[in-house]
């Protein structure tokens, strides 16, 4: 039987969708019976969706535009011969070791 702490931890860690069916059903049953955990669940959902309007980014679009314009010069320079708008079929595949694994 899952405790309130188990249930809220699963919810807060975002682990429910990846949990086994049995665990998910256990949580559902618990939420059905427990008003407090239901409230907790509704609260963190509401916080998550309100987050989308909570970041302060008034000047963001203008700044993004400026940076993109600056980078445009770099793009034109880097593009170089063979890729200045000649279309996707212009080059044979694998010209730059492109299937080299790239992890960060």
């Amino acid at each position: 039987m899952l405790s309130c702490r188990d249930v809220t931890t699963l919810l807060a860690r975002d682990e429910l969708s990846a949990a086994p069916l049995r665990r998910r059903l256990g949580v559902r049953l618990h939420l059905f019976m427990c008003e407090h955990c239901r409230r907790f669940s509704r609260e963190i959902t509401a916080i998550g969706s309100a987050m989308r309007g909570a970041t302060r980014d008034d000047d963001l679009a203008a700044r993004a535009e400026r940076i993109a314009d600056r980078l445009g010069e770099e793009i034109a320079r880097l593009g170089g011969p063979g890729s200045d708008g000649t279309g996707p079929a212009g080059r044979p595949d694998g010209s730059g070791g492109s299937d080299q694994a790239q992890d960060l």
Partner: protein, 197 residues
């Protein structure tokens, strides 16, 4: 989850139109993330630009297995963490754990159930309060939570971006959510009911 094949090829070939599109698509979310991680607007601009320069120079290495935006956010976080200790530090002990402990008894049942007015606040008011409460959330937790809720990255993408294990990510999200909820509860409101959901 990966990028579509045509775009991947165009990026690898450094086609200006494709690179420009990626840059413009992803810039707002990079700026938001950099600010979320605790940088001021000017430094956020610098880091986002530096990140995109890395991307442009290494575009031929892009393999399309992950979305370009996942790759880019990974570079961004790496760059910020190189400067900011707060972002690099793994979360060890955190005092929010004591607050959470006090909420439950030994059997894991609520001793102090949520009595927050969180749901009773009108949405704009909730947003304003969240923006205030976010300032009290450690940078790394705030970044993880924002990338999830605002930018919509899934668990695998977030683990890649933040270079953490799924378990570690869970801890970050768990602490951020509890912190925000506790903060909102403690600010107390006498708002009107049922306005949010």
């Amino acid at each position: 989850m990966g990028e579509d094949a045509a775009l991947t090829r165009q990026i690898q070939q450094r086609q200006p139109a494709a690179l420009d599109r990626v840059v413009r698509d992803v810039l707002p979310s990079l700026l938001r993330a950099a600010r979320t991680a605790g940088l001021d607007a000017d430094r956020a601009d610098d880091v986002a630009q530096a990140t995109l320069l890395v991307f442009l120079r290494r575009a031929h290495e892009f393999d399309g297995r992950a979305r370009a935006s996942t790759w880019l956010h990974g570079i961004l976080v790496h760059k910020i963490a190189a400067e900011r200790r707060a972002l690099r530090r793994e979360d060890g002990r955190d005092d929010i754990e004591d607050v959470i402990d006090a909420r439950f008894d030994a059997a894991g049942a609520w001793t102090r159930p949520p009595c927050a007015p969180v749901l009773d606040v009108v949405r704009d008011e909730l947003r304003r309060r969240i923006a205030d409460c976010l300032e009290g959330v450690p940078d790394r937790q705030r970044l993880a939570f924002t990338l999830r809720e605002v930018e919509g990255f899934d668990t695998a993408e977030l683990c890649k971006i933040l270079a953490v294990s799924p378990n570690n990510l869970g801890v970050l999200l768990y602490r951020a959510r509890h912190r925000l909820r506790e903060c909102l509860e403690s600010t107390g409101v006498s708002g009107s009911a049922d306005a949010v959901l």
